[in-house]
């Protein structure tokens, strides 16, 4: 197929860092290319970017204002663990820890992912240690971005604007060039388009879930954290019409919301199990890439606009406490908007925020008589048969009850 709306060459590289999809013959090939990129622990897209002289900011889950790194000409890369054995990282941690922390450090220690800067946010008790651990092992800047934990303070936005300015100064040092408000404005426009395109994908999931399975949507979104966002936009612009035109017919399946993928990601095989059993019409997978729910104004003070969007125009997660967003109410709202009749409440092993919210959600759904399926997962799990049987049983019970 001839290249249409091909990836832009706005990077320091001579060409796109993710060319795999551009010559694909159809949706299946693009999905396969995205799946390969997402599962490849050697970060080939990042290697290509670096080979072209580009610098990289690795940012750990959940949310990071990627526009600031992008405006400096850096590649912001979402760190979300990988399918690797934590051979090096095991010696840096104790026994009681989630997989994502170990495998994230592993890809860096093993030389699979080279960075010029690492940023984490204190999303949980474990992850808040990551900048310290990373900094003791690498010579490049390893920092904590203190996103406000008091989202309800009247002063949170002003504080966050200053914190973003501090980050801008740090990133300027890494990039070796200033980042102007105009640069930021242009980057915000790129990311606005990206968020709009992702919202379109999620609209398809809600309105016609038979056209886009949860694992397919996942790889299409997640690859965005590995490539320049302009390339991701071009990819989504190409793919979305193909998905919309897919000749799939609706089946008699229950519609569920998947909750629990905000940080450590369920394995693709597990998402595949869910896709075979039901329609996942909404979820919180890679929620950081779609944290902001509206366009960020590109004019005015771009840093303040980003800060305001983080606080005032954003979704929710177990790691942000906001009195205006009780988690159970937000889940119910997500289910209502997606017309879901049940929920899959999952949590990564050893993930305290996820496990704690699981209790809140389960008790709320119990009170309302809404069915839900509870599970735990681990990024590196390899056996899914038992879980598949349990999920199928859950689904069949609901279908028969209906």
């Amino acid at each position: 197929m001839p290249r249409r709306n091909g990836p832009l060459t706005l990077t320091p590289t001579a060409g796109p860092v993710f060319p795999n999809w551009a010559d694909a013959g159809g949706l299946g090939e693009i999905l396969a290319a995205c799946r390969d990129a997402v599962e490849d622990p050697d970060y080939p897209t990042v290697r290509r970017w670096r080979a072209g002289g580009g610098k990289v900011v690795g940012h750990f889950q959940v949310y990071f204002p990627e526009e600031i790194a992008h405006a400096a000409g850096l590649l912001p890369v979402k760190i979300r663990g990988a399918l690797v054995e934590p051979r090096h990282a095991d010696s840096r941690f104790g026994s009681y820890l989630c997989s994502i922390l170990k495998t994230s450090l592993e890809v860096a220690l093993g030389g699979r992912l080279e960075l010029d800067m690492f940023v984490s946010h204190p999303i949980c008790d474990a992850a808040r240690n990551l900048a310290g651990v990373w900094g003791r092992n690498f010579g490049y800047p390893c920092q904590i971005l203190y996103l406000p934990q008091n989202a309800n303070s009247r002063h949170a936005a002003a504080y966050l604007r200053h914190e973003y300015d501090r980050l801008r100064r740090e990133i300027e040092r890494v990039a070796g060039r200033p980042v102007t408000d105009d640069d930021l404005g242009r980057s915000i426009a790129v990311f606005n388009e990206n968020r709009r395109l992702i919202r379109r994908l999620y609209a398809i999931k809600r309105l016609a879930p038979w056209k886009l399975a949860v694992d397919e949507a996942y790889v299409l979104v997640t690859v965005g954290g590995l490539i320049p966002r302009e390339e991701h936009n071009a990819l989504l612009r190409r793919v979305i019409p193909w998905v919309e035109a897919r000749p799939a017919a609706p089946q008699d399946r229950i519609r569920v919301v998947l909750e629990g993928g905000f940080c450590e990601q369920p394995p693709l095989e597990l998402l595949g199990v869910m896709a075979r059993s039901c329609y996942v019409v909404d979820d919180d997978l890679m929620i950081g890439l779609r944290w902001i729910e509206d366009d960020v104004p590109a004019d005015g003070d771009p840093l303040f606009n980003l800060a305001d969007a983080y606080l005032e125009h954003a979704t929710y997660s177990p790691v942000q406490h906001d009195l205006r967003k009780p988690k159970e109410r937000m889940l119910l709202e997500r289910m209502r908007r997606a017309d879901a009749s049940a929920a899959i409440l999952t949590a990564a092993k050893m993930c305290e925020p996820g496990l704690e919210d699981q209790v809140t959600h389960a008790r709320t759904l119990d009170d309302l008589g809404i069915p839900y399926f509870v599970s735990e997962f681990e990024q590196n799990m390899s056996s899914f048969e038992h879980l598949e049987i349990q999920l199928e049983t859950f689904v069949e019970r609901l279908l028969f009850a209906a």
Partner: protein, 430 residues
């Protein structure tokens, strides 16, 4: 009294008085529960006692009430109940013990804990935030998160005058104003700045004393055991912060420690090896855990627990009473930030403290329950060993859950550590 005017029973007074204070504290809490007194649930890393005492809130420290269930050997009953309710075995044991305590209407082995009217927390531990969300749902109470930005990168602390520090301070100061407004709304009382000065003055005295006491343990032998005695003192630091009782207790404690240091009276008679402790103690077998070390001549002379679990009071920060609110914001920022640094960026501090405390070895105790404190310990140990030739021991257990405490395994590791210490001493040049 002795010839120099000190009471004859000065040695051990801190432990006796500390225990008595806590018995009285729990009795007061029981009465408060019966009276329905306004009660604030707070945490050790940034309790904001200075503000809350101005409104006469009873302060409950759920971390302390939870650990007391472990020390008293009943934590498993509480953990089981919370797990039956739905909480995973992988969740912090303090949280689960407290959930069970709430489900039991406040019933605690030392008394009855009143329900919260308000919860105030900082971000020094993320579990504080999730924990408070539970009370929010159980009691529909206001929850206030005082967000204290921490150090962004190892070795890059900022100080007054630096624009980044001033920005953080403005944020903290603004939130303190918002907390005051919330307290006024909850209690119907007006904020009294002179009362704040009075409370801050007591905190100043307590912080000064805490810093002095920790410093006095440089003496050989160490006047107090930083693991066991230190935990008792630490409880008073937190529960009696900003009170005349706390101030008087620490005046006495400084006197006791100075007395012991001057006379070479150690916490134990045979101090063979001076140890530093990192982490949180193993409360389910607290006494035996300590004896695994002291029985081999180990003496805990310092502990990061005495730093971070005191909310950074180890710095001895002194509030400027001429500008109370501004100084409170500065003190909260610097102290709570230091508590966080004591968990996340402690390598340099450990290297700085090892020599003045004459440390022979460092014990890293990671626990399942607390990933805030434990996640970075193995890597800190690795970095420390790369920088200094100092023996270290890495062990794992828990602060609450006896199911993950293997005493035999701990003993094997600890015995081997002491054999290493003894061999090194034997081989060391005279």
């Amino acid at each position: 009294m002795t010839a120099n005017g000190q009471p004859a029973d000065i040695v051990g007074r801190g432990i006796r008085d500390g225990a008595a204070l806590f018995r009285r504290r729990f009795a007061d809490l029981t009465e408060a529960a019966e009276r329905g007194q306004p009660t604030a649930y707070v945490f050790v890393m940034g309790s904001l006692a200075e503000i809350l005492r101005c409104f006469d809130f009873e302060l409950v420290f759920p971390e302390i009430t939870s650990l007391q269930t472990a020390v008293r050997g009943v934590a498993h009953e509480y953990l089981d109940q919370a797990e039956d309710y739905g909480y995973s075995p992988d969740i912090c044991g303090y949280v689960k013990a407290d959930v069970a305590l709430q489900l039991r209407g406040g019933a605690h082995p030392m008394g009855r804990i009143p329900k919260p009217t308000l919860a105030v927390l900082t971000n020094a531990c993320n579990t504080y935030i999730k924990w408070s969300e539970i009370w929010e749902r159980l009691y529909r109470i206001p929850v206030f998160t005082l967000d204290v930005p921490g150090t962004r990168e190892a070795g890059r602390r900022t100080w007054p005058g630096d624009p980044d520090f001033e920005a953080d301070k403005r944020y903290v100061a603004s939130q303190i104003e918002e907390l005051i407004a919330l307290c006024e709304a909850v209690t119907g009382r007006r904020f009294d700045v002179d009362r704040l000065r009075e409370v801050m003055d007591h905190t100043n005295a307590l912080s000064r004393a805490w810093r002095r006491i920790i410093d006095l343990n440089k003496s050989v032998p160490a006047p107090f055991n930083a693991l066991t005695d230190g935990t008792v003192y630490l409880g008073v630091v937190n529960a009696f912060r900003g009170t005349p009782e706390g101030r008087a207790y620490f005046d006495d404690l400084v006197e006791e420690m100075e007395h012991k240091a001057a006379r070479g009276i150690g916490a134990q008679a045979d101090e063979a090896f001076r140890l530093m402790f990192l982490g949180i103690p193993c409360y389910p077998i607290f006494r035996r855990f300590n004896e695994l070390f002291t029985g081999r001549g180990g003496s805990f002379v310092n502990s990061t627990y005495l730093w971070f679990a005191a909310g950074g009071a180890n710095l001895g920060f002194q509030y400027d009473l001429d500008r109370p609110l501004d100084s409170l914001a500065e003190g909260v920022l610097i102290s709570v930030r230091d508590a966080m640094d004591s968990m996340f960026f402690q390598v340099q501090d450990l290297m700085d403290q090892a020599e003045p405390y004459g440390v022979d070895g460092i014990v890293f105790h990671a626990i399942k329950s607390c990933r805030t404190v434990s996640t970075g310990l193995a890597d800190t140990r690795r970095a420390l060993m790369a920088a200094r030739d100092i023996p270290t021991l890495f062990i794992e257990s828990d602060m609450m859950d006896r199911r993950v405490v293997s005493e035999a395994q701990l003993k094997n590791r600890i015995d081997a550590f002491f054999e290493n210490l003894a061999t090194r001493r034997k081989l060391a040049p005279a």
